[in-house]
Structure formats: C-alpha cells, structure tokens
Amino acid sequence: MTGSRGATLFALALLLPAIVYILIIVAYPLVDTFTLSFTDASLRKTVKWVGWANYQKIFGGDFATIIVRTFVWTFFSVAIKMIIGTCGAVLLNALVPGRALFRVLTLPPWIVPMAIGIFMWGWMYNGQFGMISGVLQNVGLLDRPLAWLAYGGTAFWATIITDVWIGVPLVTLYLLAAIQSIPKDLYEAAWTDGAGRFYRFRRITLPLIVPALVTMSMLSLIATFNSFDIIWILTQGGPNGQTTTMIIDTYKTAIGSYKYGEGAARAVMICLFLSVFCFFYFRVVSKISTGEAK
C-alpha cells in the first residue's frame, strides 16, 4: 500500500494542514526576516536596501567571540543534561521503595512555567539574600557573600546550571523509558553469568540507550542553542557581555536597539549555523533509523 500514486496523494492530504500552518506562521516570517537582513530597517519608516552591509557589520564586531561562547555554553549545557539525566534515569529505575515518589518529584522543573522557575533561580544566586551563598557561608565554604551573577565566570556557569535544571526532567524521563524498554532477559543472562551491577550497566544499559541519548542530545542541542529566557531574565547577557549568546545578541540588536535589519542578519546567521548542526543530526539519526527498522 505504500509508494503508489494514491498513497502519495493520501499522505500529502494528511500533511497539508500542518504544512500550510507552518508555511504561514514560520516560513513567511522567515522569508520576511531574510529580506529584512538586506535592508536598514529600523524605527524609521523608510527602508533602504543595503546589500551585504549588515553581514559585513556582524563580522566587524566581536561576533566570533559570541559564536564560540554560544558553542561552549551549548556544549556544556547539553553534556551536563545528558550526564545528570542518565544518572537520574538509572537511579529512578532501581527497584527501591519510594521510587514512584522520586519519579514524581523529578518533574516539577519541566512543568512550571519557565519564567517562574528562572525567578526562583535568580533568588538562589543572589549574593546577599540567596540560598547558595547563604548556605555555603553557614557551612563555612564561603567567608563572604558571593553574588553568582556578578562575575563573567560564575554567571556563565550559573546560566548553564539553570538551563540544565529545566532540561533534566525530560531527559531523565526519556532515558528512563529507554532503560525500561531494554529486554529483561539480557540482564538476567548477564546476571546468571555472574556479571556485577556496574558491569551490566556498562555493557548492556549504556550501549542500548545510546540511540535515545543521541536523539535527546540533538533535540536538546537545538533548544539549548536558542535558549533565550534563562539568560535574558538572569543576566540580560551581562556582566560585560560574558553570557551573551547568539540569540541574546540577536534579540538585543533587533528588539533591544530596534535595528531590525541588522538583527535579521544575525538571525539568518543563527539559522545557518543550526542548519549545519541539523545536517549532522539527520546523518546520525538516519543511520540509527535504518538500524532500528528491522
């Protein structure tokens, strides 16, 4: 039933509503952005065609630093999410009393409106009144208040930690599902052969959740690359621009300074970089998909 003309038409009919919707709500504004990127669009009512000027301007500034920072930020955020997510999934998978409760308690960061979660973190990072600085002082690890968002280094990591916090529940849940769908007899066979718990994790669990890890990390990568709310609410890209990622830079230019043309050019650059990512993403995913179709 696949491959025939009728089937193709039917498939397209099924896809049509979604395609039309995306064309209107995403593709059209995207074309708009692309066109804008070659103009000097701003608050002024007159718009002039400026060719590549906006793009030349981008590379005249500290764009290279911002790109590198965005990649480093994204890499660490995704990597930490995957590590904590894997640990969380393994722990939640353990058949110990209370695990149903633990599983419920994992979910809140994912469920609360992001902005509210971020405001709570804002309190945590406050040097004078916040929990982290306060507790560390009480137990003697800090001898004076430390405002985590005040320094480039700590602010950079603080924003990553908050991004990890928001992303971890879904990753954990997804990996837990992956672990639970591993056939039990594999473990039993290994157990019968006398393999220890850690050995079974390394030789059975880990290899078998790699596809889930790849999928999750790639999806997470795109979302993290474009992560906006966290940095914007916590630091607005500061201090001294040390948490300014590409998306923050674009927003600052387009919405913050009303340079729609320049901002659009930056937005196009983001799309370009992500396209490269996605190219590799599909290479990996299609490899896995062909493997799993059997």
């Binding site: 608050l43 406050n126 040097g127 004078q128 405002a147 968002l149 005040a150 890209g237 500061g238 201090p239």
Partner: protein, 404 residues
C-alpha cells in the same frame, strides 16, 4: 476522496477561527502610563478633558516599568502607535529622527516656567518633542550609625571623592560592612551612576556640536574612581542595580549609596540616614548631579495628535503637575509657589533641589540603547577587572560614535 475533504474542511475551520475580525475604534486617544497604577490625579483630569472635548475618549493603559518602553516602541514600529505615552526623555531623539512622534509647540513663556536645563532634555533640532512629566536629581545617602561605629563624624558626609573613598575604606575596615553601594548590573542605572561621576568632575560625554568628548582626563578619573571603589563596595557590583542598593542600604549592608528623592521613602525606618549633595571629583569646578526627565510624547499617525497634545498640556500644567509631583514624591519641574513649603516641611528635599542648577542631562543619542549598552559594558569591564579604565574608556568612546 470524501475523507480528504473532511480533513481539509477541518483544517479550514481551524484556520478560519484564527482570523477573528478586529473591530475599529473611533476617536479614542490611547495613552500608556508606565508604573503600577494610574496617577491619582489623572482620572478626574481626564474626565474633565473628555467633557470639554465631546466625541473623544481617553483610554489609559498601565504597563509595568519593565516592559513599558519596549512596548511603546514596538507599537510605534509596527505602525499601531499609541496616542500619548510616558517615555524616558532620552528616547525622544530617536523617536523624532525616526519620524514617529510630533513636535510639541511650546511658548517661550511655558519654557521659562521650568527649572533650568529641563527643557533642554526634550529639545532636539530646536523643537520640543515631549512635555516633561517627571524629574529627578541625585544625591548621596549615608548611614549615620555606621559612620559612628567606624569612628567617623556621623554628621559629616563626604564632600569629595577622596573623602568618600577614605570614609568607605574606614567603614569597611572598622565595621566589616561595605562602605559604598556601587550598582553595575546590566541596567540603565549603571550608566546613570557613571554619569554621576562625570558630572561631579566637570566631564561631558558629547558636546553641543555632537562631538564625542567621552575620552577626556575628567572621565578617565571618573572611571578610575569607580575601579578604586570596587574593593570598598559590596561584593560583585555587576549583580546589583540601584533598587538593590536601596534594599542593601535599608538593611545596613552598605553605608553609602547615591540615589534619587524616592530613596527617602523606601529606606527602612530603623536606619538613621542623612542626605547630601553628591561628592565632587578633583577636577570639579562646582557641585554637579545627574538630571533625568521623563516626558509625555505624542505619536504620529493616530489621527488624534492635536487632542493628545491638548490632553498632555492639561495633565502637566503648572498646577496639576505640582500636585502630581507631590503625591508621587518627585522633584518639582517648576519653581512654583509650593516648592518652598516642600523644603521647610521636609529638609531632605534640599540637596535634590539645590542640585538642579548644576545638573547634567542624560546625553541625547540617536541610538540611545546602543549608547547605553556601550557605557554599561565599559563600566562592567572595569568593575569585573576585565579591562583597565584607560583602555575601556577609549574603546567606549570609539564605540559610541556610531550611535550619536
């Protein structure tokens, strides 16, 4: 095929429900006021104005400070401007240059009614582009108890930068409490704080011809002074803005802060504080302070521009404006009869009013956001130790040239 039809019809319904018709509003003067609530005096005045202008309705929307300026600009940029809006006067040049607002006719008599320098904050190309509606000057607040605890004279605030620094150092050493509250967060008031030092050291940012004068010995001293304040200030200035400073000051966690007249109402009752003119730098030729105004701007393309101007003038006439200032604790814009009474009732007004004559404005830049970001970056790079003052100043001076 019938089934395909059902699917398509279904999606058509979804799409159709998305395009609910918008209804036209006729002859409404829309107005955005920033803040928490409408000014107490406005509803009556608006009713009065509506009665005098049949056929027109005023629709006031209150938008919180955090979103207010961006919202007003977005509306204008999208071609759906608000009739009358409360904006920082620093935005007027950009709005005017972008042809988004209309000039406000102002007679010489009207201009003469204001304190000096105030009309300049809304003037660009010899025309007024907004009506001043709120105004502030800055002064130094100090905690008398902490001064005493550190062995300093609690009734003698520092008058110069050198005294400020040595007092702050003494307090930090003797009491362990940071002597000074230095805000350097990614917020507009970080730039304002820098301008305090510029204007108390005879510095300028841009001259009357539009030449950038930022990279001057005066301003280098200002930036070096900021650097010298970091060790005696609260930990991590770039995490705190001026509002945070008020809280820290209120909790006796910093001994001195610089702020506007509103600070007087927000400091905790438990703190014994005094307020004095801003300390001056080594190159000062006299006192100085930062003078900021907010304005009512009338946007172009609403069809009710004349009505909006008329309404704005009513809201800000000498009598109504003073009442508004009194209820909100704002510095008076005009030396009206009631001002003397203000000082005798509450002497803490004095440094704020005395400062007006020596005040410098927020510099008018075409791209004020670009300018502001460059200034914040400059201050933060010095505060966090990422750059030396001289290099940061030269870099910022070069960067802001494109924004003027």
């Amino acid at each position: 095929m019938r089934h395909y039809g059902t699917l398509l019809a279904g999606s058509a319904v979804v799409l159709a429900t998305m395009t609910a018709p918008s209804f036209a509003e006729d002859k409404t003067v829309s107005m955005i006021q920033c803040g928490d609530a409408i000014a107490e005096t406005y509803p009556d005045l608006i009713k009065k104005w509506e009665a005098a202008n049949p056929g027109f309705k005023v629709n006031v929307e209150i938008v919180g400070w955090a979103q207010c300026q961006d919202k007003i600009t977005t509306l204008a940029a999208a071609g759906t401007p608000v009739g009358l809006a409360y904006v920082g006067s620093r935005t007027l040049k950009q709005f005017a240059d972008s042809d988004l607002i209309v000039p406000i006719p102002m007679t010489d008599e009207e201009k003469a009614g204001y304190y000096p320098h105030i009309v300049e904050t809304v003037t660009f190309q010899d025309q007024a582009w907004g009506i001043p509606v709120a105004f502030s000057t800055k002064a130094l607040f100090w905690n008398k108890a902490l001064f005493e605890k550190a062995g300093l004279d609690p009734n003698k605030p520092p008058a110069t930068w050198a005294e400020l620094l040595s007092d702050a150092k003494t307090i930090k050493e003797k009491t362990g409490v940071p002597g000074y509250g230095l805000p350097a967060k990614t917020m507009d008031n970080t730039m304002h704080q820098f301008l305090h030092y510029v204007y108390t050291n005879d510095g300028t940012v841009i001259d009357a011809e539009g030449k950038i004068t930022l990279d001057s010995p005066q301003n280098l001293e200002a930036l070096e002074f900021i650097k010298s304040l970091v060790p005696v200030s609260e930990d991590g200035p770039s995490a705190y803005d001026q509002d945070d400073m008020i809280k820290l000051f209120s909790d006796a966690k910093v001994a001195m802060i610089e702020g506007g007249p509103w600070v007087r109402n927000q400091v905790s009752k438990d703190i014994q504080w005094g307020v004095a003119p801003l300390p001056v730098g080594p190159k000062a030729k006299g006192p100085g302070t930062l003078l900021i105004t907010d304005s009512l701007a009338v946007f172009k393309g609403t069809g009710v521009e004349d009505q909006a101007i008329d309404l704005a003038k009513l809201l800000t006439n000498p009598e109504n404006q003073f009442l508004y200032e009194k209820t909100h604790g704002l510095t008076p814009l005009r030396p009206v009869a009631g001002v003397d009474g203000l000082v005798s009732e509450d002497p803490s007004w004095k440094p704020f009013l005395d400062g007006i004559a020596f005040g410098g404005p927020e510099p008018l830049f075409l791209d004020y956001k670009g300018f502001q970001n460059a200034m914040i970056d400059m201050v933060q790079s010095v505060v966090t130790g990422n750059a030396e003052p001289a290099a940061a100043l030269t870099k910022a001076a070069g960067a802001i040239d494109q924004y003027k």
